[in-house]
Amino acid sequence: MEDSRSTPQQPETSQSQAAAPAARERRKPRVPEPPPLAPASVRLAEYEAIIGKSRLDELRFLASALSGKTVKMVNSTAVGGGVAEMLNRLVPLLGELEIKTGWEVITGGNDFFEITKAFHNALHGGEYALTAQARDVFMRHTEQNRQRMNFDEDFIVIHDPQPAGLVASKTKGSSRWIWRCHIDLSSPNTEVWNFLQPMVESYDAAVFSSPAFARQLSIPQTLFYPCIDPLSEKNKELEESHIRDVCDNFGIDRSRPIVTQISRFDRLKDPVGVIEACKMAKKYVDFQLVLAGGSASDDPEGAVVLREVMEAADEDPDIIILDLPPWSALEINALQRASTIIVQKSLKEGFGLTVTEGLWKGKPVIASAVGGIPTQVIDKLTGVLVHSVEGCAYQIRYLLTHPELGSQLGRNGREHVKENFLMTTNVQRWLLLFRLLSEGLNSASL
């Protein structure tokens, strides 16, 4: 692979540290192990304990009509990022259901990936002047990839804009082409979108993560919510001793309530707002606040935000700030499971998978009503939605003093994730889409 970004990021040593200066010695954690190159493979049967035999049987029945069909997934990177993480699980699971599924990664030089990165930002609404040269570079690398790859499978799934131009290889044969868009296209840069739209509309169907992220297109658009894998390091069940060790390591007192926000140090996640809310709430209730995230070490803006957060914390020993390396999935899992309440007070959000993770762990979640969060947090039913620092402070007070409501929200939240946002539901959606495309989209009936 020529994509330099696909080289696994080498872990540096001692990046992980609790950053509250007054308590640095006490809270300096052990450095977690570096990540495996790919997640350990799991068998479909391992999900039975989570979703039940009947749901698993339904998946197998659904797949039986597709037995022997072939699928090719194409994206732009083999490691790093949510798409690669998801494909690492999805591809073997589809294979186990007798749908032979391959996964290929496009190649390109730095010039190509610089342009696709610029496209990515522009599609999120950023300023960008599309030049003839940029178009040429994009098309030249697309053409090189087209020449290198075969597209003989029954279903070709192209992920995101970088490989979108491969659809030029679509013929009048039986292959069905699907464009899976993982990004928000609600307000794209017009020039870039006008360049990509004819390619996108050459597909048989497009898949978006939210209706709010979609465009008006001439092809059918389906909705696949992002999902979490309940068997991944970040979400699997943990031994109580591991949770205890992580908390001890970070200097977190489990005999007192713990309110946690997991997110990178980014102003859009409003970590300072969370500290303000907690200071308001602490006038009435006792608890510790844990702010855990990453990106401060390799992101200059993240480092600035981390400093702002530490200033706002003002050496309060009950505010525990953890700058964790990217391979801290087990630690994050333990922190979420140790928490009394999970907060996600973002000012802007994509789907908000940290909310999904918190809900899956059966925790009451207090979250801002932005992005994909209201899809997950149905106010007062699967969690609590807030719109301000004051609202967040009040809900922390309320839930800490009404634990029975917190338990009920946590139970509902977990069920909501089980029904709609797990990897197995994602597998089901792919099977359904493949079946409906095979049989003709009008064949389905009540």
């Binding site: 009947s54 909705l223 009503a369 889409l433």
Partner: protein
């Protein structure tokens, strides 16, 4: 009546009647499609309700109930939820939430009722037209694939055993969605129990289970409980 704790055991019938046609359990899987219609206010909602596909009406009423099957109270359909939480029109939200999908045997009649409720509300509250939601209502539709789940029953004990094994999606398919397929104000279970096993009283009792005040698992337990006490 036997206590609910016995719900997982088959009934003690001296004479077990056998059906000439077995009950074949099925389930349904649904794929969501994003439609063109969106609404930011009640006028747009009304327009969209008039023009959207029946698949959208199904998705935002019948199907959303299944997606939220674990919620015991406080959730009825997407239209009611949006009106209350996004527009803050609690009165309309309550009226929309009071719709019981089981009273409708066609999606066109359900659409008409939704339209009527919004029109009536706007007639009484003309200022509500000015309210704008921060998050629009995005119309989606769903396409359904029916799945045989290889569970069949010839008599009541087998039927109860089958109920205990199938997922809540099978319960939704036979007990709630069925009326759209059959165009009858009943469900697959009641029809079979009455016709094949002669259990008319139990069949009738099943139709009185309130699906809006318990989870679908709860509905399943109530069905089993009624059938455990069923007599010819």
């Amino acid at each position: 009546m036997k206590p609910l704790g016995d719900a997982m055991s088959p009934p003690d019938h001296r004479m077990i009647r056998t059906a000439s046609t077995p009950f074949e359990f099925k389930a349904a899987a649904h794929l969501l499609f994003i439609e063109r219609e969106q609404a930011r206010n009640l006028a747009e909602l009304l327009d969209a309700l008039l023009s959207c596909s029946e698949g959208s009406i199904f998705q935002h009423t019948f199907r959303t109930l299944e997606e939220h099957h674990f919620i015991k109270e406080g959730f009825s359909n997407d239209f009611a939820h949006w009106a209350s939480s996004e527009l803050g029109v609690i009165g309309l939200g309550e009226r929309l939430a009071s719709l019981d999908v089981r009273e409708f045997t066609s999606l066109s009649s359900l659409r008409s009722r939704l339209i009527q409720l919004v029109k009536d509300f706007l007639a009484r509250n003309p200022k509500a037209r000015e309210l704008t939601a921060e998050n629009p209502f995005y119309f989606c539709s769903s396409k359904t694939v029916v799945l045989p789940v290889e569970t069949r029953a010839r008599d009541l004990p087998e039927f109860i055993d089958g109920l205990n094994h199938v997922s809540v999606h099978s319960i939704h398919y036979h007990f709630i969605e069925a009326r759209l397929r059959r165009k009858l104000e009943t469900n697959d279970f009641s029809l079979w129990l009455d016709k094949e096993l002669g259990l008319s009283q139990a069949a009738s009792l099943l139709n009185r289970i309130d699906i809006y005040t318990c989870t679908l698992e709860g509905v399943k337990r109530k069905i089993v409980h009624i059938l455990q006490n069923a007599t010819d």
